[in-house]
Symmetry: none
Subunit: 136 residues, 4 copies
Amino acid sequence: MIEMTQELAEQLGKAALAKAAELKRPMSVSVVDESGRLVFFSRMDGAGFFTFDTSRAKAMAAASFKRSTMEITKNKDLNPLLWYSLPSVVPAQALPSPGGLPIKKDGHVIGAIGLGGGSPEEDHECALAAMATVGK
Amino acid sequence: MIEMTQELAEQLGKAALAKAAELKRPMSVSVVDESGRLVFFSRMDGAGFFTFDTSRAKAMAAASFKRSTMEITKNKDLNPLLWYSLPSVVPAQALPSPGGLPIKKDGHVIGAIGLGGGSPEEDHECALAAMATVGK
Amino acid sequence: MIEMTQELAEQLGKAALAKAAELKRPMSVSVVDESGRLVFFSRMDGAGFFTFDTSRAKAMAAASFKRSTMEITKNKDLNPLLWYSLPSVVPAQALPSPGGLPIKKDGHVIGAIGLGGGSPEEDHECALAAMATVGK
Amino acid sequence: MIEMTQELAEQLGKAALAKAAELKRPMSVSVVDESGRLVFFSRMDGAGFFTFDTSRAKAMAAASFKRSTMEITKNKDLNPLLWYSLPSVVPAQALPSPGGLPIKKDGHVIGAIGLGGGSPEEDHECALAAMATVGK
């Protein structure tokens, strides 16, 4: 079974931040494994100190629900307080906001990536850019 | 006095997960006693890591209010933050969401079951399937 | 790579509780995966309601440190407050106490088991009994 | 003013993990800025899921007290609960344990590095290896 590795996490994280640099937006990126545990994090110069929180929250939300946080956000029936009701997710205190994507290999979710620091659309775009590098 | 037992909890939990397998939805099931204390838990392969949180929260909510969490959810006057004001329920940080059912015997609530991992309707359906096995 | 499965977790949990029954000690058993996430839990009739906390805490401690909690307990230099300093472990608020063992396959830790409800020696013995069933 | 940068944080983190690889010890490394905010994190394959907690806690403790956590640990008069009384440090729930070092440039602390996953001595050694690469 394919799992998240340090190498893949770094590759994904750097691809996402390369896109952020292209957009001239200082961002942070978090990559977690399938259990929501942090594997890689990097904060660009100029990105807000709290972008660790937001990027990790998005990655954990995407890993939890196995879908993009943009999609989760669109579900108006989902109580935003849900995230505070999940002890497993509490360290990240995740609120759904675009910029998180599950990472899949061979049909299985092996982890997730989350971006913070840009607009919702920019965060989402950078997450997508990371995905493109793994052919998914 | 009839009480929740390890045997009954396991029977209920397995019946619920058998329905989940039928629906091809990896889920987790939690069964608690009349005091909201966990008696049985099982997570299917592929179910999200946070489904322990959601399944237990639903079981605790159903045991607390002695009604289904689907019914609780429909009460628009109920402030979801209520759950955070109940110290006994805090460990599960329960938010009302369908999939939890009280377990009754001879008119008394002896515990509750909660499912997590599917849609609200699927979670509720699996909880009902468990109930069917105890003739209630 | 071999991973913790629902089937293996249940097999381990039941073997541990069979030993507890032999010792005539009502106990609870928790089995977690390699990331410390709960996979299986069962509480025997008569076991204290808080044994969910202790059994899970031991399993999470053993999964975290990749060694038995009996061995961890013997390290007098280890500050017991350590466990409260680990946000990833906070849901279980683990304190080191005998009765937790890592579960290894092919030299890799794939999870852990924790027992609560007996004396430290009894809890440890039941964890060992579970291990015997997986040829390790 | 010289400050922690993403580039320096990554350089320090990778130097520390190169030493960990040499010691054949899977570890995690956290690098924080002078305000204790995370800049870089990486977890080696095989490092425990909770090493994010420990590595960051050490980095935050070293940045807070502007000295190595090995030195802090030796201060027997320091109440370990101190860290829980510092709201700014609470997110990392830092307990003093060897493996954290402040990062200085021109006499000023610009951040800190923390390692987790090895013995106290190994964690400290890897932090020192990182320092060596910045000529300090």
